[in-house]
């Protein structure tokens, strides 16, 4: 596979803008075989688009590697306590309303 040179210019017909628009579907394997071949052909002759694609993919992986914010123990305990109390309150409210209605 011959290496692309910085001086090489891709064919005007397959512009970098078009390639950029196709990246999303390329990465999820949703290009038709013909379009994918064109996409990859452009990459072989355009170092700028290779670099763009690499940084686009890196961006996705960086977002995916963000540290998960753990729920603090006290928050977990507070919410659980709320959930344990609240249904009970609703039942009490229901029966008190029922009792009032029957009086």
């Amino acid at each position: 596979m011959p290496l692309a040179k910085r001086t090489s210019r891709p064919n005007v017909n397959d512009s970098c803008k078009k390639i950029t628009d196709l990246i999303f579907n390329y990465l999820t394997d949703r290009l038709t075989p013909a379009v994918r071949r064109e996409f990859e052909r452009h990459l072989r002759i355009c170092p700028d688009c290779v670099n763009f694609l690499n940084t686009y993919k890196k961006t996705i992986s960086l977002t995916g590697s963000l540290v998960i914010r753990e729920m603090p123990r006290n928050v977990r305990a507070t919410v659980l306590a709320f959930l344990r109390q609240k249904p009970h309150r609703i039942v009490v409210l229901f029966f008190s309303l029922l009792a009032q209605a029957t009086l």
Partner: protein
């Protein structure tokens, strides 16, 4: 470093491996975080990532129990999903206090509205929907931040369609060498916080949580097409924003 060296194909897997035939109508391959990272690191071609495990039967059992008002079922759902939902809400909001309230609201809604859950989506999708809606509601009510113009960080092209600023710098390989993980996390977090709340939500569900476009569409009440368009644009913005933070051109 000369541009020739920087943009050289040397050591890059430019030779595309023979990819398996893919039908256009095939469903999107869902990206788990680990699977996606591995795929990105190892391949230059399209990402091949495993589909997330689904447990529809387990879901329906829990939902039935929720519909019967079982407190224990609510706690099972809480134990299964609260960690993930807290993380999603926190990413969207950025405020710990609000996140606690959102999570409380979400599970209280689960308890109250379980009967109205029709089962046309997975339990997890419903929970994500409740969480994103609650978080976005709080964002709307909170003090509005000045929105960053996306255009400034999107790629620019010449009239003939080629990149306007050349060479495009590939900072993907050098980032981990130049910056500590904590610094990288801060850079990405800062860029993410500049996204519009709805785009940030989509990006969090996709690239952090690994939901498919279809699942995000169901969770956010958007068309799949709108999800794809917004996600691609958000990634382009984030990429450009990171490039600028690293001292390169966004274009």
């Amino acid at each position: 470093m000369r541009p020739e060296e920087k943009t050289s194909y040397k050591d890059k897997e430019i030779t595309m491996p023979a990819m398996p035939a893919v039908e256009v109508s095939s469903p999107r391959i869902s990206m788990s975080r680990a699977g996606m990272r591995e795929a990105i690191v190892k391949r230059t071609g399209p990402m091949a990532v495993p589909r997330r495990r689904k447990s529809a039967s387990k879901d329906s059992e829990i939902i039935e129990r929720l519909k019967n008002g079982e407190q224990e079922a609510l706690e099972i759902v809480f134990n299964l999903y609260s960690r993930k939902l807290y993380s999603v809400a926190h990413r969207i909001l950025g405020e710990a206090a609000d996140t606690e309230e959102v999570i409380q609201d979400v599970f209280w809604t689960v308890y109250r509205k379980a009967k109205s859950f029709k089962g046309d989506s997975q339990l997890s999708t419903w929970l994500y929907r409740l969480t994103v809606n609650a978080a976005l509601g709080r964002v709307r009510r909170s003090k509005k931040k000045k929105e960053v113009e996306y255009e400034e960080f999107l790629p620019k092209f010449q009239e003939d369609g080629h990149h306007r600023v050349r060479p495009v710098v590939d900072w993907s390989d050098t980032l981990d060498e130049k910056y500590a993980q904590r610094e990288i996390q801060a850079l990405v977090g800062k860029a993410l916080d500049q996204l519009k709340p709805i785009d940030k939500s989509i990006m969090v569900l996709s690239d952090l949580e690994g939901l498919s476009d279809k699942e995000i569409s169901a969770a956010m009440n958007l068309t799949v097409s709108a999800v794809k368009t917004r996600l691609h644009r958000a990634r382009l913005f984030l990429r450009g924003n990171l490039a600028v933070q690293l001292g390169h051109s966004a274009a």
